[in-house]
Structure formats: C-alpha cells, structure tokens
C-alpha cells in the first residue's frame, strides 16, 4: 500500500506537474529575449533621461522651485517602466491575444469618456480647448488616444492573424463563387468584410481622437492603422492603396492650402508653418526658438547642460521640443547618433517581427515599432521646421510619465515577441 501509494503519489505529482505545465506555458513566454533590442531601448532611455533633465531643469526650477522636479518624476516612471517592460517580456503571446478584443473595447470607452471628462494640461492661458486627458486620482492622467493606438495595434495583430486566410482558397471554389451574382456578392463580402472592419475601427477611432482636438494623435493613429492594414491585410488589391495614397496626398494638399477648414488650433499652426516669419514672437515662437537652438548647436554642440535656449526661450523644452535642446547641446553629431539609435530600434524591431513565426507577434511588433518610429520622425520633423508644429512627444526623451510607462510596456511586448522569434536568436 505504502509502496503503491508512494508511487501513486509520485505519479500524481508528476501528473499534476504535467497538467500544470501547459498553464504556465500558456501564461509565460520562455526562451531569451532579443538582447540587442533591449540594449537599444535602455541606451535610448538613458540618454533620454539625461537630456530631458538638462533641457528641463531651468523650467522646473522656475515653475516648481526644484530643478529636479521633472527628472525625479520621469526617473520614477522610467524605473517602473523598465520593470514593467521585463515583466511584460515574460508574458506569453496567448495572453496578449486575449487582451485584443477587451482592449479595443476599453480604448473606445476611454475615448468616449474623455470627450466628457477631461482635464487640460496645456498652458492655462492658452485658448485651446484640448480634451485629451482623463484625470485620475493622485494627479495622474490617462491619454485615451495612447491607449487607443496600442489597442488598435493589438486588435489588428490579433484579427489579421486570425482572419489571415480567405475562406475559399481553392480555384474551383473561387470559380464557383464568380459564376453567380450571389456568389460574386459572397466573394466580395468575403474579400472585403475584414478589411472593412479594420477600416471601420480605424475611422471610428480616428474620429474620436479628432474630436479630442488632437490632430497629431489623429495623424499618427491613421498612419499606424493604414500601414498595419497595408502590411497585415493582404486581400486588398493594390489599386486601393493607390487610391488611399492619392486621397491622403490630396487631403494634405487641401489642408495646407486651406488650413481654415481645420479646427482653429491646428489651422493656426499650419498658417504659422507656411510663413514662419509671420509672427516669430507669437504662434511661431516655439518653432523659431527651436530652430535657433538647433542652429546654435552646429556640428558638436555647446556641451551638455550648456544650452541657452532652454533658459525660458524655448517654451517647455522638456516636452515636445526636447530634441532641439539635444541638438543645441550635443550638436549634429550627437543628434544624428540618436537618430541612428532610433533607426536601429526600428530596424531591430522589424527583424524581430520578420523572424517571428506567429503572425500576431510579427504584426504586434511592427505596429509598435512603427508607432515609435513615426512619432520620432514626426517629432524631429516638427522640431527642425520640416513639418507644422503638432504636439508629438519624442519617445524616451520627452517628459511625461504615463507616456513613458506605456512606451516601455510596448517595448516589453516587443521583447516578449522576440522570445519566440527563433531565427535571430543567437
């Protein structure tokens, strides 16, 4: 008895363990993550913190009487964010798949809520009525458009994996479908229903973000959505992309020539962009001062901490325009190196994506990396005066706790995916 029971107990424990394993496997990801990507993230974050501190301390000192006001907060979020990144990097992709639909629901909920319950974080004297932030207890805020972007990426990755293959793939089936009117309709439906869904979700989200009075969020959401559909949804004929591209170009042209059809706050910035000399002390103050800062940097910069433009010339230098101070302090060489780090991040992200067997993981990484890349490119475009001034922060650099937390969480997702990207693991 004892022997048997002992054996049985041992067997039972093993069985138990065997039975448990799939759950653990289900919850957690195994294998090493992509170290280079993690390294790039940490290096960017480190440089970002240092530069943000340098850019922001004057403002912090003046506004809050404490030079470390911004950096203390940012550092806290960064540490939390890095921890979060590593935690998330252990999550099994299946877990993430489960978040896709509820996540999208939550995002839409927040996007609707923010229209009615919001706080204005921007300069109190500004006349602009931004509905971008939901206040949380404890002085924190949530930006639904940020949640929305991640939810959109997650949803697309999930859906584009799940509904990847057309239902009728055999030539005989297709021929049958094409033969009758109902069949053609059915074929059309099968061909377009998911694409239609993706576009509907995207347009609804974009509309809600636009209602927040948030053009930059609108543009980025639209960009990510469109690019993800382009990469992930492969049933759409090429002419359709051509059409979308033409509409996009036409829209940009119309907005550029007739900015007055946009909301006033956005129109103002386009008008200012069109003629930078129009009002260098008013609407163009920030961009003018940004250019002066970047220009002052020259090849090698004034040295870390030596920026002069941050001394209240460039408004809020710790935020969207932090890169201008980076350029001023470490010059073209330094700024270009940072640019290359971002390129490396995007590159490495794509490599992870393309070496991942699971389509969900691939699309997830592509979406996240695209988001970071687009934000970076748009931010630098704005700061250097190539694009109109929109409020896009620079990832890893700009002050903003929840945004950083979110970004690092997304990096964690990339790392989680990288664990299953076997090919590039060495």
């Amino acid at each position: 008895m004892a022997g048997i029971s002992k054996t049985a107990a041992r067997e039972g424990w093993r069985a138990q363990r065997r039975a448990k394993e799939p759950l653990r496997r289900q919850l957690l990801a195994y294998g090493g993550f992509d170290f280079p990507f993690m390294l790039i993230v940490i290096v960017l974050l480190g440089i970002g913190l240092v530069m943000m501190f340098s850019a922001g301390y004057v403002n912090a000192l003046r506004k809050y009487g404490d030079a470390y006001y911004f950096i203390k907060r940012q550092l806290g979020y960064a540490l939390g964010g890095v921890a979060l990144m590593f935690v998330i990097s252990k999550i099994n992709l299946n877990m993430l798949r489960r978040f896709a639909i509820p996540g999208l629901g939550l995002a839409f909920l927040l996007l609707v809520v923010v229209l009615f319950y919001h706080t204005n974080l921007s300069d109190a004297t500004a006349q602009e009525d931004f509905k971008r932030w939901i206040p949380l207890p404890g002085g924190m805020t949530v930006q639904p458009s940020e949640v929305g972007k991640l939810a959109l990426i997650l949803f697309y990755a999930y859906a584009m994996e799940k509904y990847q293959r057309p239902h009728y793939t055999k030539a005989s089936e297709q021929a049958l479908l094409r033969s009758t009117e109902a069949g053609r309709l059915k074929a059309f439906w099968h061909r377009w229903r998911y694409t239609g869904l993706y576009m509907a979700v995207l347009l609804l989200m974009v509309a809600l973000v636009f209602l927040e009075n948030h053009v930059s969020g609108t543009v980025i959401t639209l960009g990510i959505g469109a690019l993800m559909i382009f990469v992930g949804e492969q049933r759409i004929p090429l002419w359709f992309y051509g059409l979308v591209a033409v509409i996009a170009v036409a829209a940009v042209a119309v907005f550029y020539t007739h900015p007055e059809i946009l909301p006033a706050y956005a129109a103002k910035r386009i008008i200012a962009f069109k003629d930078p000399m129009l009002d260098p002390t008013g609407d163009n103050w920030q961009i003018t001062q940004s250019l002066l800062a970047i220009g002052s940097g020259g090849w090698f910069g004034l040295g870390w901490g030596e920026s002069i433009q941050k001394h209240l010339y460039l408004p809020e230098p710790q935020n969207d325009f932090v890169f201008a101070i980076v350029c001023e302090e470490i010059g073209f060489i330094g700024a270009f190196a940072i640019l290359l780090l971002f390129v490396a991040l995007v590159w490495r992200g794509f490599m992870i994506a393309l070496h991942t067997k699971e389509r969900f993981g691939s699309l997830l990484v592509i979406g996240i990396v695209l988001q970071v890349g687009m934000q970076t490119a748009l931010n630098i475009g704005v700061v250097t005066g190539v694009l109109p001034n929109t409020g896009i922060p620079l990832p890893f650099f700009s002050a903003g706790g929840t945004a950083l937390l979110m970004l690092l969480a997304e990096m964690g997702i990339v790392l989680a995916v990288s664990r299953v990207a076997r090919e590039i693991k060495r």
Partner: protein, 766 residues
C-alpha cells in the same frame, strides 16, 4: 497550404520591408535632412540670431575722470549710483496690474522723486520690458529702492482651472519682478557753483554737456566696460559661466590751471561788484602772463552744475515763475538756462572800448609812427573824413604826451595815432593781437570773430572805421581775446595761447599729458612792451585806472567803458590789468555788463580788480614794494612781544611808534594781537595780554565805509581796532567803500580790518 503560407509570409516580409525603408528613408531621412539644414547649412545664421536674443551686452559705465584745481583739490567727481527701470510687459501680464501700479506710485515714485504720471507713462509701454524710471540715483536712495523690490506682492493672472473654466491664478512674487536696477554713475561738484561756467556739467547720461565737461568729454569718459552675459527669456542673467567681462577703463582726470584760492577771490569780488554796480552780469578772467594758463575764470551769476536745471539767480527765477503764460514761461526758462550755462568770458563778445587803446598805442610804438614824446592837444573832438568824433571829456584834455593820453583815455589822441598808422598797419596788429581769430583756449563754444559782422575786414576798414577802432569801438571781441592780447603786452610782446587744463592724469594719477605753454607769436618787441607796461602803470597810479591800484603791487592797467553794439542802451565797464608792471605775472580782465548808476570801468571794474589783485599778489607771495608814503601807512610788520616783560615791551613798542594796550595783571606778555609778523600800520595798535586763560576782549566792528581815510582811521582807533587801508593813496577824494569785516561783528580787540578805498576823481573815460 504550405505554398500559400509561404506566400503570405513573403508578402508580409516584402511589405514590411517597404514600410521599414519608407520609415527610415522618408521619416528619419527627412529628420536628418532637416537637422543638417538647420544645424549645418544655416547653423551660423541661427546661432547668431540666437545669440542676439540671448546675450545681454551690458555696458558698464567707466568711472568718469575727476577734475582738480591746480592744488589737486577735487572740483568735479564721479560716484557710483543706480538706475531704476520698470518692466512694463511683465506688469501688463498680471490681471491686477493696476493694483500693483498703484502701490508703485504710492511707494516707489516718492523714493525716486518722480511724478506718478511719469511712472504710469513709463509703465504703459506694455510691449517693452525695459523702461527707465530714473538714472543717477544715489546709493542711499538705491537702498530704499532695493527694499521696495524685496517687498512681496501677489501677481494674479487669468487662466483656466482643470475643468477649463476661466479662473484667476495667484502667485507670490516681489516687486523686484517688475522693477529692476542697474549700476549708474553720478557727477558731484563738491564746491557747488565754483567755476561752474568753466566746468560745465554732465547730462543724465553722464556725457559732458557744457564747459570743460563737454570739451574734454572724451578724455574724461574713458572706455566703458562690457559684461556680455547670457540672459534668459525673462531677461534675467544666467549662471556666471556664460559671462565674459571687459573691465571698464576709467576716464582720465584733469588738473586745471585754475587755482581754487584765486578763483574764490575772483568769484567773491565779482559777485560783490555785480551787486554794487546793479549790473546784469559780471565777468572776470585771471591769467598767468608768462604761460597763458587761466588761474581764474568766472561769470556772475553762476549756477550749481550738480543742479544745473534750476535757475540759480533767485530774483530771475521768481521773475520767470511769475510769468503766467505757460509758453512764455517755458521760453523764458529755457532762455535763462542757456544764459546761466553760458561761459560769457569766452562765448560773449563786446566792444572792448578804451582797453583796446593799449593795442593801438602798442602798434603805433612798434611801428615807430609815434614815440614816447609824441604830443597831442585834445580839444574835445576831432574830425575824421568829414565826421566829427568827440572825446569823452567834451572840454578836451589839452596838451598831453603819450602817457597822459593813455592816462586820460583820450579818444582824439587815439584817433590821431590810428590815422598815423593807417588801415594796413593797424589791421596787421589787429590780427597779430588775435582779434580776427579765436584764442584756441581749450573750452567749447569760443566766440569766433565774424568779419563783416562783428569785426571789420581790412577791405571794409576806412578812415572812419579806423578812427572808431583805434579807441576800441565798432567791433567786438570776447573777454578772453582782450585779456590774451593785453597779456601779450605784459609778456614782453609774446602772445600766448590761453589754456585751462594743465595736466591729464590717468586713473592712477600718473601724468599722461602736460600742457606746454604755447607762444603763438611775438606781436610787439619786448622794448615796446616794457614801454607800454610803464605807461599802463601810470594809468593806474594817476589815470583813469587809479582805483585798480594795489599798494606795493605795481599794477598796470587800462580802463574801458563801451556802449554795447547790440543793446540800445547799456554799457560794459571793464578794467584790464597786470602786475607787477616791471615783471608781470598776473593779468586780469574784469568786465561789468550793463551797470546801472556808475558806468565807468574806472569806477566799478577797477576796484574789484584791485581787491582781487592784492589778494593774489599776497597769495602768490609776490613781493610788494611800497613807496615811502605807503611804507608809513602800512609797511610795518608787527614786532614780537610775547614772552617779554609787559612793561618793557610796551615801552619798546611805543618807542617804535605803535600804540600799546596792556590787558591783565600779569608781568609777562602771553599773547598779542596782532600776532607778530602781521602787517600793521606804523602807528598801529598792539594789544598785549598778560593773563593766561582770560578771554580776549572783543569789540564791535564799526561802519568803516563811505568815509574819508582820516575818518576811517579815527573810527577804527576809537573802536580799538587796527585798520589796513588799501587803494591808491596818490589820488584825491578818497572814499572808503568796503571793509573786510562786516560792521557789527564781534572781533578781538586789535584785530586788523582791511578797508578799501576808491577815488571817483578822474576815473571817467566816457
């Protein structure tokens, strides 16, 4: 299946790569392009623009150099001060700006001494961030200003709360947020109105506006320093590492030829002379004959350069304030300002009148057209080119030799001499003595002779003009021109260039420049000059200049009284003299503008000249050589009796002709008045005190003016005072007119009172 999957994966790969490269090349490429364009292509432009906005190039005013008199006594000095400004743009941003402004008006405006209206006006430029409120604020006041800047205030701004509703935000700040201070300098004139017209003054910007301050502005100003510092957008300085400092180089200091003591003698006597003559103004210049250095230069009334915008002359000010029409009052005020700042001794011109006769005679003697023995009979008038010109003495001076002609200041004699000289030779000397050019004195706005306007050209000068010119009428010259010309006679015929700055010192008082006397030309021979000096001494001894006499001083001079060309009525009474006649050292010109009552130079200009000259000669230790008569009257010096037995001392002194009074019961003399060595008349009174500690007995000074010499002597003796008479004993009808100690003052027994006397006999030259 496998093939399709492959295809889908391939498509994913392809499209991903398209997106990746699009991202890298379009997105980041555009960023890199923008960066390169801004930073590398236009970098320098932007950097320059940024710098222009970022750098505060603060000028640090260099300390303005000091001005010293010849004894290194400071007469103009600069001191640190402050400048206060307001930042209207930051004030305008506050919603409670009116409230804040009201506090500033109430508290700051009185500290600065500015009107509320001015403060409000300056604060109204709401798009500026720097509007000056007041400069040259003294440091004591700056402390109060800084205390005000530390005062806390609440700044309210309109904004929105978390729900986007309009609300008022309050922040704690200090008034220093709106009110700023900057270093500045202020100019002090410790001696107040001393030599004011010569010194000039500096404006609020510390730049010389008149006088020496203007002429030597560059020298005095120095090189301002610069602090190039980075400022933030709120116009505050950044930490020190952005600062580069260029130290200011202080201005150089000037050492004047003006001697404070002499200048004071001049000013005191001129002021009195102006009052006595009820004149509009009085001018005086004293020159070192051998060098041309100006020892004193004064205009009365003067002003205080430290407060140059108030009219110094009380009477004039009240008159202007009484004008009801504002336009008129402003005009009168401005006119008065210009007048009081003007240095009349070099800027104004007048007809030199009889003083010029010295030039005519010098020229004629030099040219040999007359000799010392030349005689002329004055009948009271003479005819030139059909025009009768009369002498000031209508009855005529009768037969005179050259010296007498000068002593009498006889016009027909001078006309005769002028005609003998002829236009060409006259004009040669007219030019040589400097009447057609400026003297080149180192002062601004020297009057420039204008041919055809206030002097004749040689071409326009014919016998009638020559006639009037030969006795100093029908042309104008500035006081400095006249004195320089007469000084040439005193200086053996060498015409000097007058100057007022002897040395220029750097900040460490090292001599940078030293003015070397400049001989402009030899105008007449030393021999002629000596003859002229001799004759001019006679003018003072017994001629119209007898009131310019200084006992033992050997003053040579010439009086002048001229009708003003410019004014319908009014005269300029003048006296130009130098001393000692045999080796002249000091030359002086006194001119009284528009006297009322007595108008002759011999009556009103010569007496102050004598007072001043006597003071200067004593001060300069020029040996006074008394003649016998003078010796008797004032040549003695008080013997010493202190320490000796009272009785024997008294006896000894009395034997020498002094009156002696012994006060006290002691045996030895402890103290005497006048002290030993002081000058005293030969029959003067000496008081011997024999008791220690006993206060000297005092007496009240009696009125000693308006008396004859004998009466004055008697009065003084009766009061127990010594009297020191100065003036020309040779003349008759002497009247005392001024005493050195005012009547009624209590002075120790035996004190010497100097009493000046004048003669009104034969001093008229008009």
């Amino acid at each position: 299946m496998a093939r399709r999957k492959q295809t889908a994966s391939d498509r994913l790969f392809t499209r991903s790569m398209i997106v990746l490269f699009a991202m890298i090349f379009l997105g980041f490429g555009a960023g890199a392009f923008g960066l390169a364009k801004v930073q590398l292509v236009h970098g320098k432009e932007y950097a320059a623009k940024a710098e222009a906005g970022q750098l505060r190039d603060t000028e640090v005013a260099a300390r303005r150099g000091d001005i010293y008199d010849s004894n290194m006594k400071p007469i103009a000095q600069s001191a640190s001060a402050g400048k206060v400004y307001i930042n209207p743009s930051s004030l305008a941003k506050a919603s409670n700006s009116e409230e804040l402004l009201a506090v500033m008006c109430k508290e700051l405006a009185p500290i600065l001494g500015i009107s509320e209206a001015r403060l409000r006006n300056q604060a109204s430029y709401s798009n500026r961030n720097y509007m000056s409120l007041r400069g040259q604020v003294e440091l004591a006041t700056m402390e109060k200003v800084n205390a005000f800047r530390e005062k806390e205030c609440i700044i309210k701004t309109n904004g929105k709360d978390s729900e986007g509703k309009a609300t008022t935000l309050e922040s704690k700040s200090k008034y220093g947020y709106f009110i700023g201070v900057q270093p500045d300098v202020i100019r002090f004139y410790p001696l107040k109105s001393f030599a004011a017209n010569l010194l000039g003054f500096t404006g609020a910007d510390d730049i010389g506006r008149a006088g020496l301050e203007l002429y030597y502005n560059k020298e005095l100003t120095g090189t301002p320093g610069r602090i190039v510092s980075a400022k933030n957008a709120a116009d505050a300085n950044l930490p020190i590492q952005y600062e580069s400092m260029y130290n200011p180089i202080p201005g150089n200091s000037l050492v004047l030829t003006i001697d404070e003591v002499i200048q004071r003698y001049l000013e005191r006597s001129l002021e009195q002379a102006k009052i006595d003559a009820k004149a509009k103004a009085a001018y005086g210049i004293i020159m070192d004959v051998k060098t041309g250095a100006i020892l004193g230069m004064s205009c009365v009334s003067s002003y205080d350069p430290g407060d140059y915008q108030s009219i110094a002359d009380e009477e004039h000010r009240r008159a202007i304030e009484a004008i009801t029409d504002e336009q008129e009052r402003k005009k009168a005020y401005n006119q008065a300002m210009m007048e009081q700042w003007r240095n009349g001794t070099i800027e104004l011109t007048y007809e030199p009148g009889s003083v010029f006769k010295t030039i005519t005679v010098s020229a004629a003697l030099e040219e040999g057209v007359i000799g010392m023995n030349t005689q002329y009979t004055c009948t009271g008038s003479t005819v030139v080119a059909g025009r009768r010109i009369s002498c000031h003495k209508h009855s005529g001076h009768g037969l005179q030799d050259l010296t007498q002609g000068l002593m009498n200041s006889c016009n027909p004699f001078m006309i005769e001499i002028g005609q003998k000289l002829g236009v060409e030779r006259f004009y040669k000397y007219f030019t040589a003595f400097g009447f057609t050019e400026t003297t080149g004195i180192d002062l601004p706005n020297e009057a420039v002779p204008k041919p055809g306007i206030n002097i004749h050209t040689q071409q326009s000068m014919h016998s009638v003009e020559l006639a009037s010119c030969s006795f100093g009428q029908s042309f104008e010259a500035s006081p400095i021109q006249i004195l320089t010309a007469v000084s040439a006679i005193a200086n053996g015929g060498k015409l000097m260039q007058p100057y007022v700055v002897a040395k220029v010192l750097d900040e460490n008082q090292r001599v940078l420049k030293e003015t070397k006397p400049t001989v402009r030309r030899q105008v007449i021979s030393a021999d002629t000059a000596e003859k002229m000096a001799g004759m001019m001494e006679q003018v003072v001894v017994a001629g119209t200049g007898k009131n310019g006499y200084v006992a033992g001083g050997r003053v040579a001079g010439k009086t002048g009284t001229s009708e003003k060309l410019s004014a319908k009525e009014g005269y300029v009474a003048s006296f130009c003299c130098f001393a000692p006649a045999d080796s002249p050292e000091i030359a002086m010109l006194i001119a009284i503008d528009e006297p009322v009552g007595l108008i002759n130079g011999g009556q009103i200009a010569a007496p102050p000249a004598a007072e001043i000259m006597e003071n200067i000669l004593v001060y300069k230790n020029v040996e006074l050589r008394y003649n016998e008569k003078e010796q008797e009257k004032l040549g003695g010096s008080t013997p010493n009796a202190v320490g000796g037995a009272a009785a024997s001392a008294a006896q000894r002194l009395e034997a020498q002709g002094f009156s002696v009074r012994v006060i006290g019961k002691g045996e030895t003399v402890l103290h005497q008045i006048p002290e030993s060595g002081r000058s005293i008349a030969q029959n003067g009174l000496i008081i011997l005190y024999t008791e220690d500690g006993g206060a000297a007995q005092t007496v009240k000074v009696p009125v000693l003016t308006g008396l004859s010499i004998t009466q004055a002597n008697k009065e003084a003796a009766a009061a127990g005072l010594n009297i020191k008479l100065t003036g020309n004993f040779e003349s008759n009808n002497l009247v005392t007119y001024r005493q050195s100690i005012a009547p009624g003052e209590e002075v120790p027994l035996g004190t010497a009172v100097t009493v000046h006397f004048v003669s009104n006999n034969g001093v008229v030259d008009r």
